[in-house]
């Protein structure tokens, strides 16, 4: 089966004043459907840049990026916006909900940009909100919710378009550890339901939820390994 993400020799060079910054120096990675991947690395390693490229927020300087068998390396702004809308669900560290809109509207937003009609849109948004366990909070504003609930709304917003990948950038970074565990449990569930999840994190215990860890250092893949514990554990659960 074709990989859902295929990165080939990706580089990214920034111009910082007179200086050139090589954020990515040839990254080659393939991610299959329904994988649960953690991208790890210290700050300045290039992991954020890699996430931006995978999330189609940024285009690589060179190299090939195929998302769902579509070459997105050379797309323009508007084409990328469409791809992000259809294929990618973002979950950010700081939730990034629209403060003035209620939960329902926040979750509806990607569907509005996707051109989904009002009735269908509301139904899909309600379903997604129910999936993250906030079915009774449809008309709350973000500031009326706890941090964990806000992140659940963000997850619902990411899920609502049924994207190819869920891309979570330090999703527990702004949460206390108990709430963080709840959110990670939610990701685990979503993975079991067949979603492809990419976590960007520097925390080992968060990365431990993933089945595969990709370590980035100095703009290159330093390490790409399966999380044995995790796969074995899941295997045993499946066997039992």
């Amino acid at each position: 089966m074709a990989p859902i993400i295929k990165l080939q020799n990706i580089t990214k060079v920034y111009q910082m004043g007179a200086e050139e910054v090589h954020a990515l120096r040839g990254v080659t990675v393939e991610i299959q459907k329904n994988e649960y991947v953690a991208i790890m690395g210290p700050s300045g390693s290039g992991k954020s840049t890699l996430m931006n490229v995978i999330g189609c927020l940024d285009t690589p300087t060179s190299g090939l990026y195929e998302l769902n068998a579509t070459n997105v390396s050379d797309m323009n702004d508007n084409q990328l916006a469409k791809i992000r809308n259809k294929e990618i669900g973002f979950v950010f560290q700081t939730f990034n909900l629209l403060a003035r809109s209620d939960v329902l509207h926040n979750v509806e937003l990607p569907l509005i940009y996707g051109g989904v009609g009002s009735v269908e849109r509301k139904q899909l948004a309600r379903d997604a909100i129910t999936r993250v366990g906030l079915g009774d909070r449809l008309h709350h504003k973000p500031n009326e919710l706890s941090g964990g609930q806000r992140q659940r709304v963000a997850v619902a917003r990411a899920l609502v378009t049924n994207p190819s990948i869920l891309l979570a950038d330090e999703p527990t970074g702004n949460l206390d550890s108990k709430t963080g565990i709840e959110i990670m449990a939610l990701f685990d569930t979503l993975h079991r339901e067949g979603n492809t999840i990419i976590l960007v994190t520097h925390e080992e215990d968060i990365a431990a939820h993933a089945h595969r860890k990709i370590r980035i250092r100095d703009g290159k893949v330093e390490h790409d390994e399966l999380n044995r514990q995790r796969t074995i554990a899941e295997g045993s659960v499946a066997a039992a």
Partner: protein, 413 residues
Amino acid sequence: MSSTLRFYLDEIREGLAISFRAIASNKMRSALTTLGIIIGIVSVTLMGTAIEGLNRAFNKSIAALGSDVLYVQKWPWGGGQDWWTIRNRRDIRIEQAKAIERQSELASSVSPIIGTIANMHYNRRVLENGVVVGTGAEFLQTSAVNIAYGRFFTEGEADGGRPVCVIGTDISENLFPNENPLGKVIKVGTNAFRVIGVLEKQGNFLGMQSLDDRVYVPINRFFKEFISFRGGIDIWVKASSRENMDETKEEIRGIMRKARHLAPAQADDFAINQQDMLIQTFNAIGSVIAAVGLLITGLALFVGGIGIMNIMFVSVTERTREIGVRKAIGAPRRTILLQFLLESAALCLLGGIIGVIIAFPLSLIIDQVLPTAMPISVVAVALLVSIFVGVVSGLLPAYRASRLDPVEALRYE
């Protein structure tokens, strides 16, 4: 097709909802910014209303001049020629009016007109500085005025120079507040005239000169009684129809030239004026007044627009992160552009509506001085202009917002 239409409608609805939330959540700032637009719209609409008032006043006055009447005079309307040359022209004489009456085939009625200032007396009542007009029996046909009651003098009375007069409403109101003036004898200057008719109210001419403080007497009587007054007459000629005004004018010109013994090479030493000339002159002056007035008041609107642009830049900067989020979840550039344009247009439209609401009672005050009403077209234009100002002012900030790099925008604190 219908799904794309629905998509755009959804996008506009979403944009409007965002705009109103943004405006409502920054009430003070929105109010202050909108103030510029409000002031601009108030001044533009009031200027429009005043111009409308000027036009109305002019049209009302111009109605006193018949559109099918030619005015044979020494002075041309609208000017243009050398003042001294015209000053030195020979006066127009009553004989020339008689010549037109006799010879013209296209004229339906002809009135010689001459006037002077005199005080009017009845018993102990006085009206100072009224106007005495000497004219012929066809005066009513050549002017746009009607008899209110009584009658105008007959041809017999006119030719015979009988001491009879027809008075304007100002005179009847001043000299006969509680009496029927018909049959009474008034003194015009030192001469006695019997009142045989009262004219309908006419109002002012171009807002300056009252047409109702006049006494009309037979011109032959006028020449007898007001001998101290020297000067030529005017001749008012009503054409038989509006369609052959030009032919009538040519005919009158020929008769006048002959009556004044002009050689073929000599230029006309008289003018044949008509309503159109005043309209043209007024239109020329009126459009300059309108242009200058709207330009000056438009400046207020322009300044208001700059205020809107400024606040839209602030709004874009403040919401950089929000723009980043929207882009991340798939908003194309067009959507972001539309969102801020709508916000800016909504802000200005709000200002426009408030401006019109404020301007309306003020226009009623103008109405006291210069009869007018705020034209619905001015209201419509004011609202369209405010939307236009909003779109233009919002264009640059909205464009900047739409071009934001999502990565940068998401990182913005």
